[in-house]
Amino acid sequence: MKVEVCEVGLGRYKLEILGLPCPYPTLYTIKTLEEIREGEVLEVIFDNQPSTKTIQEAVIKRGHEVLSVERLNEALWRIVIKKTSPRK
């Protein structure tokens, strides 16, 4: 199990969530989005397949923008999100 956030560039963060089932990838994504500034970008790397759908749904529902969804390999996905709603 791994949950790790790091800054990978100016205004760009990476959240890795590995080995965690639903709903943790979605919850950690939302929590991390609450921590960053409007306009900043969050890359979420995860291995729990249903999260490809549930992260997108949760993010869109909260007014953020999904920039890309990518399957990195057989068991790893990346969703890139731009925070567009105001910081809480």
């Binding site: 199990m1 080995g19 943790y24 919850l27 397949q49 749904e57 949760a58 057989e74 068991a75």
Partner: protein
């Protein structure tokens, strides 16, 4: 983390389910109240009792999970980790450990199993070293004289024995009902009572350390046994425990399966247990709350049965009729035909893997049979189980009559169908009798089978099933 998760699903407008483990099938009244509250607040007043003694809620929202998990923690409850959607082998956990719902109160058991199950659950729950098994791992502990839990459907089954070596268990390994179904095979050893927890831990660790992780499809324990053989698995367990086991001939142990009666006399002969006939495990929260009210008049707990039922315990004989009447007013009539009470169905309408709802099909089928046969149906001691896919969540593949949803394509149109299985005497695994029966014909086909059974003069359905299987009955969509 590691004790709570939601399961993902894609049916009935639900994205997540909450599968609450009822440890040893014993649900304390306070815990039941919290589950009722969760159902009401987050789960649209709906509950399901599963074949692994869990209580399942649906329509859970991810943002509510932290509040729900903290309520469960307060109540001393936990959930499955539901790691089935990882594309690779791994992230498997020990699922709810199944045991007889009447343990500790039924008169004829050799060993009271709930304390063993509780300790085993504590040993694995939330422990990082047991949360990355190659896949899920299912355990059954049986001391019930009728083996009501069908022990061999589990990856590890422990069956209580009183042998020349003393009191303990004999283990069987490698059961799993998903395709291809297999039953656990005996290791033919004796595990003393005081070593059973260490033994359970050793088996789970052997699976964790040696289970096949190259493909998810072959990661269950049964595939390791196929790969290296039963003897090697036995050696690995013995190495893990640094000891050898005494031989015990498992063929002398009764592994016949039975189902508990609606009413069972307890160890204390003045008291009785009464099964609440929740059809295919479905309950609404008002029924559940009333059941809690009834239960607490007699006990501080409700039992949860792998037959998708609840069981009320410690009821004095002279109160039984009153309780039955109260249940009847809730729409839970225990005077219904046994075949209806024993029907099981998976929640296929929620999981999204199926072409139709198993539970709704069960309702349609049983209503039809009751209408057709009337009182004659009451004589029948036959079980029917309906699953939405080959994973056999309703255990259709070990039922007297099993139905599995499928589809056929005709002129580019998908037609929902069922494959029909029957269980003969030779094996507890059912065999395919008819393939691809269009859904609307299923009731007619089952009616025909039951009518033939009633008219056959045979009393054992398994013997009748053997006769059916010997005939030329496997035809596409043909009723008999």
């Amino acid at each position: 983390m590691g004790k709570y998760a939601l399961g993902y699903e894609q049916g009935n407008g639900s994205t997540y389910f909450l599968r609450i483990k009822i440890v040893a099938g014993i649900l304390k009244i306070d815990q039941a109240r919290i589950i009722a509250e969760l159902s009401q607040k987050y789960g649209r007043d709906y509950l399901e009792v599963t074949t692994r003694q869990d209580i399942q809620l649906h329509w859970i929202k991810d943002e509510d999970a932290p509040s729900i998990f903290s309520k469960l923690e307060e109540a001393g409850l936990c959930t499955d980790m539901c790691g089935q959607y990882y594309p690779k082998a791994g992230n498997g956990d020990v699922r709810n450990i199944v045991t007889c719902p009447l343990t500790g109160i039924q008169p004829h058991e050799i060993i009271e199993t709930s304390s063993i199950v509780k300790k085993a659950v504590e040993m694995f729950t939330g422990r990082k070293e047991y949360l990355d098994l190659p896949r899920k791992f299912k355990i059954g502990v049986s001391s019930c004289p009728i083996n009501c839990i069908k022990p061999e459907v589990n990856d590890l089954a422990l069956v209580a024995v009183e042998s020349e070596h003393g009191l303990g268990f004999t283990p069987l390994v490698g059961g799993s009902l998903g395709f291809p179904p297999s039953l656990a095979q005996p290791l033919n050893v004796f595990v003393p009572l005081d070593e059973v927890l260490e033994f359970i831990r050793a088996v789970v660790e052997v699976y964790r350390d040696h289970g096949l992780r190259n493909r998810k499809a072959t990661a269950r324990f049964k595939w390791l046994i196929r790969e290296v053989g039963l003897n090697r698995v036995k050696e690995l367990i013995q190495e893990k425990m640094s000891k050898s086991f005494q031989y015990l001939d498992c063929s002398k142990i009764s592994l016949e399966w039975g189902e508990h009666n609606i009413i069972s006399q307890e160890k204390d002969p003045r008291l009785y247990s009464l099964m609440v006939p929740t059809f295919t495990g479905i309950l609404n929260v008002n029924q559940f709350k009333k059941i809690i009210e009834i239960a607490e008049r007699y006990s501080d707990e409700i039992r949860v049965s792998p037959a998708q039922k609840l069981v009320l315990v410690h009821i004095p004989e002279d109160e039984l009729m009153k309780v039955k009447e109260e249940l009847k007013t809730l729409g839970l009539d225990s005077e219904q035909p046994l075949i209806k009470i024993r029907t099981r169905a998976c929640p296929s309408d929620f999981c999204g893997k199926s072409f139709e709802s198993s539970k709704k099909r069960a309702t349609t089928l049983l209503d039809y049979l009751i209408n057709k046969f009337g009182k004659d149906l009451e004589k029948l001691d036959v079980s029917i189980s309906i699953s939405g896919c080959p994973n056999s969540c309703s255990q259709h593949i070990v039922s007297d009559i099993g139905l599995q949803s499928t589809t056929i394509s005709k002129n580019g149109v998908s037609i929902p169908c069922f494959n029909l299985y029957v269980r003969g005497r030779e094996s507890k695994i059912s065999k395919l009798l008819i393939r691809n029966i269009p859904s609307e014909q299923v009731s007619l086909v089952i009616e025909d089978i039951l009518r033939k059974f009633m008219n056959s003069g045979l009393t054992d359905f398994h013997e009748f099933a053997d006769r059916l299987l010997e005939g030329d009955f496997i035809h596409e969509g043909r009723s008999m």
